[in-house]
């Protein structure tokens, strides 16, 4: 059954992937148990992607997921994955050193009353892209909820990086500037750190660009 190590690159997969199912309305029990009232775990992933001691480097990303009727998706769960400030991922496939203690992963549950969610993190650096290109700083996001049959991948880019956006290989393949805009957060307020807003529209006039990656 196993593919020999020198198999040609076009070898098809041997097995089919396990099919997806919706996360349903009770996703918090499994993925954010403290939100659901379960205190049995000593640690769980949460909204802190990175929590720098230096508050001036902190950024907050907040947003709401909206459905096709414009209503907030109050039972959404959002996961985030990003590189550190140098654009390095804490993963052997990258292999470059990362900032001490940097995990790069966060998981936020929308507020059950308002639908608002947020992450606390730092600005990622640019990441190598295909063909020697450089990808503009971005945060990869994955959204699940009741009614979402297969998790939705998207990316958040930062508004200050317009020059890098012009050459970003992903943004480059979105011809419609209005659709491209759906991937760029807005800078909301400055203070002790900066807050970016990134609302996600599952469908409708402002539908976010979702990725098949």
């Amino acid at each position: 059954m196993r593919i020999p190590p020198n198999a040609p690159p076009n070898t098809p997969p041997v097995l089919k992937e396990t099919p997806s199912q919706t996360a349903g309305p009770y996703v918090h029990i499994g993925l954010r148990p403290s939100v659901a009232g379960f205190a049995g775990y000593t640690w769980e992933p949460d909204h802190q992607i990175a929590n720098p001691a230096d508050k001036s480097r902190r950024i907050r990303i907040s947003g709401t997921v909206f459905d096709g009727t414009g209503a907030p998706v109050k039972d959404a769960l959002i996961e985030a994955w990003q590189a550190d400030a140098n654009g390095h991922y804490p993963h052997p496939e990258d292999g470059r050193p990362v900032m001490p203690g940097f995990r790069g992963f966060g998981r936020a549950a929308a507020d059950l009353e308002s639908g608002e969610w947020h992450f606390d993190t730092i600005r990622p650096g640019p990441v190598p892209g295909p063909g020697g290109t450089l990808q503009a700083p971005h945060v990869s996001l994955w959204i699940v909820a009741r009614g979402i049959n297969i998790g939705l991948h998207t990316r958040l880019y930062f508004p200050e990086d317009a020059a890098l956006h012009a050459t970003d290989p992903l943004l480059a393949i979105i011809p419609d500037p209005r659709r491209r805009e759906t991937l760029i957060a807005t800078r909301e307020k400055d203070g002790e750190g900066v807050t970016y807003r990134f609302d996600i529209h599952i469908q409708g006039e402002y539908e976010t660009v979702f990725l098949d990656i």
């Binding site: 690159p9 098809p12 997969p13 097995l15 099919p19 997806s20 996360a23 499994g30 994955w81 496939e93």
Partner: protein, 256 residues
């Protein structure tokens, strides 16, 4: 910012000798985003086509977890909630192996599960079903696969429950599974059903998977070989994550 060193990685971030990008997701094998029989999907499904983008480091990498992140009872739903008493219901060993699409076992996979209790009730503020909560059952567990990709949980078999969809919709007994591979592009959430349950074929969520063979991959099998006599039945649920293509060898010396 110091030392971004973008030039240190070749082309798309793939290193010679490492596996290539993930196999493309076979979208026809998964449920479509819009499945009108599952009413909530109507307003929660994208209508624009997904944008295909080749894998970069951002997709090939992902968070890594180990057993050290977890507590020793995290995979034991019989004991990880209450300090005394045992949950009501049919005790079960729920186990399996995680493979990739190349049929290779995948070690180090974080699996998180959640489920209703034996009466079909979730311990969740939004679950208003009249069936009772179980004071000894929380309903969540997690583990990391071993070197052969294997995992197990101890739990009770969940009950079926009614839900607002059509006039009298019932979910078959199921356990929700969240699975991480080594790359963020592999991220997967699914549900495991139980062999022989007549509600599976009546369920619009299970039915959102168009291909019966694909749906069948979500049915855990009664596994008498691994049952624990006078204690619990075993159910086997194997999982397949996206695999990686073989890498191109252009940059490698001849003879490999």
């Amino acid at each position: 910012m110091t030392d971004t060193r973008p030039g240190r990685l070749p082309a798309s971030g793939h290193r010679p000798g490492r596996p290539g990008p993930f196999f493309a997701r076979d979208r026809g094998h998964h449920p479509p985003a819009l499945w009108p029989d599952y009413k909530t999907s109507v307003a929660r499904s994208p209508r624009q086509p997904l944008l295909s983008f080749e894998n970069t480091l951002s997709e090939i990498t992902g968070p890594l977890f180990s057993l050290r992140d977890l507590g020793p009872q995290d995979n034991d739903l019989l004991s990880n909630f209450a300090t005394e008493g045992q949950p009501i219901g049919e005790r079960m060993l729920l186990h399996g192996q995680v493979l990739d699409q190349n049929a290779r076992p995948v070690p180090g996979v974080l699996i998180e599960i959640w489920q209703a209790n034996a009466a079909g009730r979730y311990r969740h503020v939004n679950d208003g079903y009249r069936a009772p909560l179980d004071p000894a059952f929380g309903g969540c567990g997690r583990t990391v696969t071993d070197s052969e990709g294997r995992y197990f949980f101890r739990s009770i078999k969940p009950g079926a429950y009614p839900w607002p969809n059509a006039t009298d919709s019932w979910r078959p007994a199921h356990v929700h599974f969240s699975i991480f591979g080594s790359g963020f592009a592999q991220r997967l959430i699914t549900q495991a059903y139980f062999e022989g349950d007549p509600l599976i074929d009546r369920c619009p969520i299970a039915g959102s998977i168009p291909d019966p063979a694909a749906r069948n991959m979500l049915v855990a099998r009664l596994d008498m070989e691994n049952s624990v006599p006078f204690d619990m039945l075993a159910w086997r649920f194997d999982i397949v994550l996206r695999g990686r293509r073989s890498t191109c060898f252009e940059n490698r010396p001849e003879g490999n």
